[in-house]
């Protein structure tokens, strides 16, 4: 692209589309890049909604099917908005590498791309609201959903649901899901201890407190919540804390000219992503007064994200399911036993090849952070820049 853009947005999910619309409507030349073949991100992919239509009219350019892999993205425009979203968090347990064991979001994506689950017995386990969305989808497509097991205690989830009146949009979504689930058995305070089977999963060992039982299944969908996609931000030198990109009032990161919005700054759902995207887009286009009017709405959805995080916090037991011989790094087949006494991520990579395989640490990096508290290996800049120049402010 000759001349470059004023604002380059990485990620065409809710946050990226909202940022692009606000910046383009303010007169900025905007380019959006996404590695997927279609825009929309995790929730809107392949759908036509309000923001997609607004985006189509905004004049922003879209490049799909290509991943942004390094700092050269900064050459494409004066300001960069990182809206790279989140991915599923996996945790190792005995049998989790067996064929037939997939992620919860993984099963959702596979069904949406044509996997026929009709007649299959499916157990959904792990943590977070996504479990119910997956179970409802599998059921709608003809699967027998045997069980949905949330690891968080029933009281925590019930408290969260009671607080939903403060977020009517979410309450409506929850009611819709509950109806789609029909009579599916949903339990709380329960988790999968082991997946069993010869050659592929045939059943799972479940635990609810002291009660342990086996459940037969053809598919186990297990996911333990979401984790932000911070790799690109780290590569650009942005400060990352507790697995999320740190941002200031205008969604600016610790690196001048780089903003971040959406799940990449912390898990909070689609509404948080949209409002953060709008603020980033407006701020990047120099319209701080308009951006500031959205602070209240952002605070509301961040609060929802915090409530979500508290309610579905991972219990210590699910971090201790793996045995010494359980594989942790699936690309290089490195076991928990080979890793747990290492000093950190860097030493583990050097000594065991953990994180050096094809997924580049995107699965095992999040696991070792959750299980062992290992941080990212990139050096971090210490502080935010004291001054932030906006593109169009004169």
């Amino acid at each position: 692209m000759s001349g470059g853009s004023d604002v380059v947005v990485v990620g065409a999910g809710p946050a990226g589309l909202a940022a692009a619309c606000q910046a383009a409507e303010s007169g900025a030349r905007v380019l959006v890049m996404d590695d997927n073949a279609a825009a929309g991100g995790q929730v809107w992919r392949g759908e036509q909604g309000e923001w997609q239509e607004r985006f189509a009219r905004s004049g922003a350019a879209l490049e799909t099917g290509r991943a942004v892999i390094d700092e050269r993205v900064r050459e494409r425009g004066r300001t960069v908005v990182l809206a790279t979203g989140a991915r599923e968090l996996f945790l190792p347990f005995p049998g989790w590498t067996l064929p037939g064991v997939v992620g919860a979001g993984g099963l959702q994506a596979l069904i949406k791309s044509g996997y026929d689950v009709a007649g299959k017995r499916v157990v959904v386990a792990g943590s977070g609201p996504l479990l119910y969305a997956v179970a409802a989808l599998a059921r709608e497509k003809g699967a027998s959903v045997m069980l949905v097991a949330e690891q968080a205690p029933g009281a925590a989830v019930a408290g969260f649901v009671r607080g939903l009146w403060r977020h009517p949009e979410k309450l409506a979504q929850g009611v819709g899901l509950a109806m789609a689930l029909g009579g599916v058995e949903a339990v709380r305070g329960c988790w999968v201890e082991e997946a069993m089977g010869r050659g592929r999963v045939e059943g799972v060992k479940m635990r609810c407190g002291r009660r342990v039982w086996e459940e037969s299944c053809d598919v186990l969908a297990a996911g333990f919540g979401l984790t932000p996609n911070t790799e690109l931000a780290e590569m650009l030198g942005c400060h990352v804390r507790a697995g999320a990109v740190e941002t200031g009032d205008w969604q600016q990161t610790s690196v001048e000219g780089v903003y971040a919005a959406g799940e990449v700054t912390g898990i909070g759902g689609v509404e948080k992503s949209v409002v953060e995207g709008e603020i980033a887009g407006l701020a990047a286009a120099g319209r701080r007064a308009e951006a500031e009017r959205l602070f209240g709405r952002r605070a509301q959805w961040r609060r929802f994200g915090e409530e979500l995080g508290r309610a579905f916090a991972l219990r210590e037991e699910v971090k201790r399911l793996a045995r010494g011989e359980t594989v942790l790094c699936r690309c290089e087949d490195v076991t928990v036993g080979q890793l747990r006494d290492r000093a950190g991520w860097r030493e583990a990579k050097l000594r065991t090849r953990c994180g050096m395989g094809a997924c580049q640490g995107r699965v095992c990096g999040a696991i070792t952070r959750t299980l062992f508290g290992w941080g990212p290996s990139k050096p971090r800049p210490p502080l935010y820049p004291t001054r932030f120049e906006d593109l169009f402010s004169d």
Binding site: T97, P99, G103, G114, V327
Partner: protein
């Protein structure tokens, strides 16, 4: 999903529909595994969204393609390892 198409999986003809990902088509066909891990374990898709690399297969001679990120095309030749 779109019209009926046929792909070949390890030499066997498999019917599927346009718009289906290669990963979904292989799961529907009941293949025994997508790939073998470093230590020889059978592996299948985990994330469904292009991140974990567990679904890698050979497509039309190109090795190590993530089958969850590729749509089936009529006459496509897929091989698992």
């Amino acid at each position: 999903m779109g019209r009926r198409i046929t792909i070949s999986v390890n030499g066997r003809a498999v019917e599927t529909r346009e718009g289906t990902s290669v990963a979904a088509a292989l799961l529907n066909a009941g293949v025994a595994r997508f790939r073998r891990s470093e230590s020889g374990e059978a592996r299948e898709p985990l994330c469904g969204m292009g991140i974990c690399m567990e679904c890698r297969v050979t497509i039309d001679g190109e090795a190590q393609v993530r089958s969850c990120q590729r749509l089936c095309e009529d006459g496509m030749e897929v091989e698992t390892t």
